[in-house]
Structures are given as structure tokens and as C-alpha cells.
Symmetry: C2
Subunit: 439 residues, 2 copies
């Protein structure tokens, strides 16, 4: 199953480091690398790459391309993976990506196995590096005979202090739509031996305070953490929470937006008729602009939260003058403008795992923290940490180090160890702190 030709779909945001790694590796090993994107300009800087622009919906051209390669990688938006996956199964090609294993992929696991194909998922940052780094420590602790009591893990795609110029302390380094709709599914998790759940509208008002490198962050829980009890082999653990990190007071401001209804995505607002301020006040149910804070849904927000909203543009007396749009779509237009990474701006990725475990009668807390800045607004930490793990995985696969077929996730040492080791050489280093809590 020697790989001679690699096909990559998508060269948009977050692809630079993946493509750069692959271009260098493939050139060195005489492997043909083809990249398909809407704009071939995106890959012009790597002359060894064959760049093509096709319509992803053009099945004939797409299949002909897939058929001409051995390994296919999709960096496309999630909705488009399905085309590529179906092509790979039909034409007997290996597949890798950085997105969550979809229900579709789970259903194709057996078919892929029988065809001797590898379908790899969750090989990026989150999901991806989160699994690898957590499981490396979990497996190590379990091998020492430790009993894990608590595992909490938060990841945030943030902005470097050097480029932090707004009161939300946030800029957008990934899909802005996902920022607006973050948390919509609510969350459930294990805490202190209890199944707990939070619907969307309580998520951002139920954040945990988390201090990283002396900065105060707020963590909100993600979707369904309980599935990691079996996925990570943590049966019997008392606390298990995975979540997202934002800098204080982002979650308080975002909670105000959720409570007001600014993240709602059903009813259409006539923005020729109503100004931003009129819409906001109508959500607030009052006619006057607050000047000493305000209440929404039984919580008091200080005036600083109103000021954060105003900074975004939500208290403007102007009209958006768009076609009828939902509040969520309107909010997205403001965010994309206000929270844009400017030339040279560095983003910041923080990932922090905290384990509480018992060993030989003692209780310990182990904290493992990654903090990585981007180089600039195009060469982001997000692009590094989504791209490098996937690229290293592809290289390992091409070198015959991946023995699995069917659905492959980075949950076993044979997959994650080499990736973590190489990442460490590239400067992706977790800082480990071990504390004895009780004797």
C-alpha cells in the first residue's frame, strides 16, 4: 500500500502549516502532491504542488481525481467531507481529516475495514491534539496504578496579549459562524459522581474560572463530555468535563448576548426599519439605554457589559440595511469586522488538562498546559495545531507506521506517541505541574 500520490481538498484558512509540511515531505520523497482549492493562488508558493481548481459538486472530475491518487485528505468545511468519503470508499482510497468522526463515517467503519482502507478522523487540534495529549497522560497514570478521580480539559482559540485590542479579549481565528452558534447543543458532563447537564441558555452563565499563566479565563462545557468515559477508558471517574476557554469576561458578555436573543437563528429582523440599538432594546424589553447596568433573564449585568456590546456595534443608532436576517447572522457580520485578526496579529491557543488521581494512598493533581502563539494573522497557532498533527499522521501513514484499517482515531499510543514526539521537536510543548494535595 505504498503511497505515491496524495490529494488534498481545500487550502483555505488553517491549511498553511499542513500544506507546507506535506509539500516539503512529498518533495523530498518524490511523492506527487495535488491540492484542489477554489483559488490556486493559495498554493502558488509551493512550486512542487500540482494546484487545481474544480467544482466540488462535479462528480465526474472529482472522482477521476480521487481515482488517480492513493491517499486523500479533506480540509473542506464539514458539510463537504461526505462527497470525498463516498468517493474514497467507491474507489478504494485511504482518507484522512481533522474533523469529528461523523455518523456517516462510523457507519462506514466495517465497509472500510473489509476494503482494507484507512479512514482517519479527529487528527487536528480539538478534536485531535486534545485526545493525544490527554491519553498520553491517562495511559501513563494508569500504567503507574493510579486511580483517576477527575479529568477536566479546556481548549481555547484566543488572541495573543500583544494583539488584544478589544474588551472581549477575543479575535476570530476560525469559522465565525461556529463562534456565533457555539454551545447551542448545551452540555452534559460528570461532576462529583453526578450526571449534570446545562441547556444552552445556562451554559455561559455557568462558567468555571480557570487561571492559566496568571491570566483569568472562563471555561464553558462542550456538548457531551460523558462519551469520553468509555472513549478514554475512564470508567468510574467522578468528574469528567471537556470545554472551551475564553478570557474573562468574554463569557459574561456572551451570556448577555444569548439571554437577549442575539444568537437566535430563526426569526428574521427587518433592518431597514429597525436600528441595531432598537433591536437590542427590543430584546431587553425597555426603551431607554442602560447607564447603570441592566437585567436580562434575572441576571444583573454591569454597565461594562453594555459597553462591550456597544463596542461590537449592537448599540449603534445606524440601521444594518440588510435584507431580512436573523439576529445570529446580523451578529456575525459585526463580529467578523470587530474581531478580525489584523496584519501581523498573533493568535494564541491554550489547552489545559487537569487530572486528580490517587496513588498509594495519596491524592495528586496534575496540570498539563500548552500555550502556543501564531506567527502572524495568516500563519496562526490554529493553523499549526490543526495542520501539524494531521500532516505528521499522514507522513506516518505513508511510512507504513499506521497498521489500522477502518475508522482510525488518535486514541492509542501507536498512533499518538510519534505525533506528540515530533510536535515537541517543533515547539509544541506541554508544561507539566504535579502537586500532592492530600497525604
Amino acid at each position: 500500500m505504498s503511497v505515491q500520490k496524495v490529494l488534498v481538498f481545500g487550502a483555505g484558512r488553517s491549511s498553511w502549516f499542513f500544506i507546507n509540511y506535506m509539500a516539503q515531505y512529498c518533495q523530498k520523497h518524490n511523492i506527487l502532491l495535488t491540492v484542489v482549492d477554489q483559488s490556486v493562488q493559495h498554493v502558488a508558493q509551493w512550486p512542487s504542488i500540482t494546484a487545481l481548481s474544480i467544482d466540488i459538486h462535479d462528480e465526474v472530475t472529482r472522482r477521476s481525481l480521487v481515482n488517480d491518487h492513493d491517499l486523500v485528505v479533506s480540509l473542506l468545511p464539514v458539510a463537504f467531507h461526505t462527497f470525498v468519503i463516498q468517493d474514497c470508499l467507491a474507489l478504494g482510497k485511504h482518507f484522512a481529516n481533522a474533523s469529528y468522526a461523523s455518523d456517516e463515517l462510523k457507519q462506514l467503519n466495517e465497509a472500510a475495514k473489509q476494503a482494507g482502507l484507512m479512514f482517519a478522523c479527529e487528527m487536528g487540534l480539538d478534536p485531535g491534539l486534545d485526545h493525544m495529549s490527554a491519553l498520553s497522560l491517562i495511559h501513563d497514570l494508569q500504567a503507574q496504578g493510579a486511580t483517576l478521580k477527575s479529568f477536566t480539559s479546556y481548549t481555547g482559540g484566543l488572541v495573543s496579549p500583544s494583539a488584544d485590542t478589544n474588551s472581549w479579549h477575543y479575535k476570530i481565528s476560525w469559522n465565525p459562524k461556529n463562534v456565533v452558534l457555539a454551545g447551542k447543543s448545551g452540555a452534559q458532563f460528570l461532576e462529583d459522581n453526578q450526571l449534570k447537564s446545562l441547556p444552552y441558555h445556562r451554559l455561559f452563565r455557568s462558567c468555571k474560572s480557570i487561571s492559566v499563566n496568571g491570566v483569568n479565563y472562563q471555561g464553558y462545557a462542550n456538548r457531551d463530555s460523558t462519551i469520553y468515559e468509555s472513549l478514554y477508558g475512564l470508567q468510574g471517574i467522578e468528574t469528567l468535563i471537556r470545554g472551551t476557554l475564553r478570557q474573562d469576561p468574554y463569557c459574561d458578555g456572551w451570556d448577555a448576548l444569548v439571554q437577549l436573543g442575539w444568537t437566535d437563528d430563526v426569526n428574521l429582523v427587518d433592518t431597514n426599519r429597525y436600528s441595531w440599538l432598537e433591536i437590542t432594546l427590543g430584546m431587553l424589553g425597555q426603551k431607554e439605554i442602560p447607564f447603570e447596568g441592566f437585567h436580562v433573564n434575572n441576571r444583573f449585568y454591569p454597565q461594562s457589559i453594555w459597553d462591550m456590546m456597544a463596542e461590537l456595534g449592537l448599540a449603534s443608532a445606524e440601521n444594518a440595511n440588510q435584507a431580512k436576517m436573523t439576529p445570529a447572522a446580523l451578529l456575525e457580520t459585526l463580529m467578523v469586522a470587530a474581531w478580525k485578526l489584523m496584519d501581523g496579529d498573533k493568535d494564541l491557543i491554550i489547552m489545559q488538562h487537569e487530572f486528580v488521581y490517587q496513588k498509594q494512598g495519596n491524592t495528586y493533581k496534575h496540570t498539563s498546559t500548552l500555550s502556543l502563539e501564531g506567527d502572524d494573522d495568516r500563519h496562526t497557532a490554529m493553523a499549526k495545531l490543526v495542520g501539524w498533527p494531521l500532516a505528521i499522521f499522514c507522513k506516518n501513514f505513508m511510512e507504513g507506521k499506521v497498521k489500522h484499517t477502518g475508522l482510525v482515531l488518535p486514541l492509542t499510543a501507536d498512533i499518538y506517541k510519534d505525533i506528540l514526539d515530533e510536535l515537541e521537536d517543533m515547539g509544541v510543548v506541554f508544561h507539566e505541574i504535579e502537586e500532592l494535595i492530600t497525604q
Copy 2:
């Protein structure tokens, strides 16, 4: 365009009075009436009806049937209308139903007009009778030179006091899934010259108190009331709210369920592992059963609300022992059992419009109230008021009284007047109260 053959898809819940009316009319006028349903038993009591059971997805059989009739009515669940509508357009058949005009139907308006076809929608209760009864009064007031200041309208499918046996004062007379997911879209409306909006999680804690016939009800706003400003010709009106009626304290109890997360429909709960009570307490974020009321999302609920939840089964120490299900799906199983109309139980429909208007310097309030009980659990008021308006409309169409083609809604006097008159003869009578508020 004389109609000789009528085809009806669906004979499930709420269809009895429609089919009974149509069976009598068609038999009298030698019109062939064919009813298609999963179970032909449903129409066995009307020997003049040709009853058929087909797979709605079997396009060949379905199209052959449609092609053999002149007017096609769909009483199917909303998701299935599309098949029938496409058939009608392809084969040149008239179409009528009681559901909201879908985006699909709106897009087919021109095509239907050009083909000389009538596609009628919103001919049931809500939407349907709500339009007809409100517009009859609005047009009457406007003809008198009145200026409308406020229009609020609430409709509820409730249970008769004679069959009211639970502390929610509610039983299910329509699709239970819609009861669980009610309000998910949030609401926007005009109030006191301001565009106001409420996201889902504030909807049931922002109800209006409404007294009808001496009973206290609670009204929550529906989706987007603002579209009725132009649809009803109410440009410049200061207050415009359409909503749903429940008996006090239903909305308080339902608000607790929303806040807890019992109506969430994403994350799956393992009900082999957790009991109803454990799930509820995990949503509440506490380990002890409340005994003096409880707080969720910054609102205090008296113990009577906990008791309502317990009556439904949400505090049971039993396990549901279902496959993994969402909270919303679990809640639905409890509701269907606890709120079932029993043999002989009567349902109750209440519709109340309130108009505030100015005429010759005076301000008046006009209240128009319909209150109608069902005969028993199978012959519900819901079935009467969804079925009769649609049946009378179909009769009027067959008698050549409907001159429109394309999309037809009951928004004009030539459509609604005859229907309202005939309904009145059948006992569907609105009670009118006119008050002078200021001189």
C-alpha cells in the same frame, strides 16, 4: 373545472369531522371520494368512501391516484405535503390543506397560477379560523373608519374542565412532539410601538395573564407576529401579538422544564444508568430532592411546580431503560402517557382576539371569544375546528365559489365569509364584547 373526484391523503387524528362532512356532501352530489390512509379501518364507517392503503413513498401508485382525481387534500403530517404538492403541480390538480403555507408552496405560487390551479393553505384552526375570524372583525372595523391600535390573539387546544384531572390542566389533542418543542423558535412581536423579541428560554417566563370565562390562562407569544402587520393590513398598529393559551400555571411548570433542559433535543441520556430523578437533579445541579421549592436559572419555583413535575414522572426513582434518548424524547414518552385523553374525555378549544381601536375620538376595546368543547376523546373540538373550515372551503371550491388560482389563504372576505357563516350554523360561535375605554 367541475370537480367529480376528490382524493384525501391521511385519516388520522383530527380528520374525523373533515371526512364526515366531505363524505356526506360528496355522496349527496355524486362526487367520488377516495381516502388514502395507512389503515383503511379509519374510514370503514363511511361506506360511500373508497378507502385505499398505499405507501406514500411509492411514486408510481401515488401519481396514478392523484392523476385520477380533480381535487387533492392532504391531512398528512407536514413533512409529507411536498410529495402531494409536486404531484398536483405535475399532473394539473387542485390542492388544499390546513397547514402553514410552506416556502415551497410560496415558490410554486406563480407556476400554479399559470397552470390555472388552486393551492389552498391555512384552512384549519390555527392557521385558518384564526385568520378568518380576526380579519372579519378587522375589515369591519376598518370599514367603519376605526384606527386599530392593538391586536392580540391567543388560541389554545386545552382540556374541558369536566376532563381536567391533572395539575397541568392539560391533555394532548394534537401532535405530542409539537407540544414538547413548542416555542423553540422564540418570538418577536410589536408592543407599544416597539419591536420586541423573546428567545426560547425567556418565552415561558414572560407570559401574559389572560382571563377567559372567569378562568385564568397564560399566553405565550408565537414565532413571528410582525408578519401579520402587512398580511392583515395593520400597518402602523402599535401592538400586535399572536400567541398560544395554556391554563394557569402550565407555563410556570413548562418554564421550569425548559430551564432545566428537559426540552433539549441534542445530547443523549443513558437511561439504563440514570433514573428520572437522577436526570432531573443533575439538571438542577443538586443532589437533594427539593422540599420547599427550588431555583433554576435565577427564578424561584414553589414546591407545587416540583409536584407537577413529579406527577409527570420526572422525579421517579425508576429508570426509563430506553435506548439512549434526548431529554425531549424522554419527556414526550411521559407526557403521552400522563396527558392522554381518556375514553369520553372532552377537549376544549379557546380562541380570543382583543382589539383596541379609536373611532370618532373614542377608544374602544373589542373582545371576541370562541370556546368550543369536543364530543369525546375521538370526536375532539380540535378535529372539528381543523376539519370543518377546510371541508367548507373544499365544498365552496367545488361549488365554483372560489375564483382565485395560485396560493389561496383565507385572508379575503370572499373566502372567509361563507365559511364563518356556515360554521356559526354548526355552533362555532364567537362571543363579542365591546367596551368604551376612554371618551
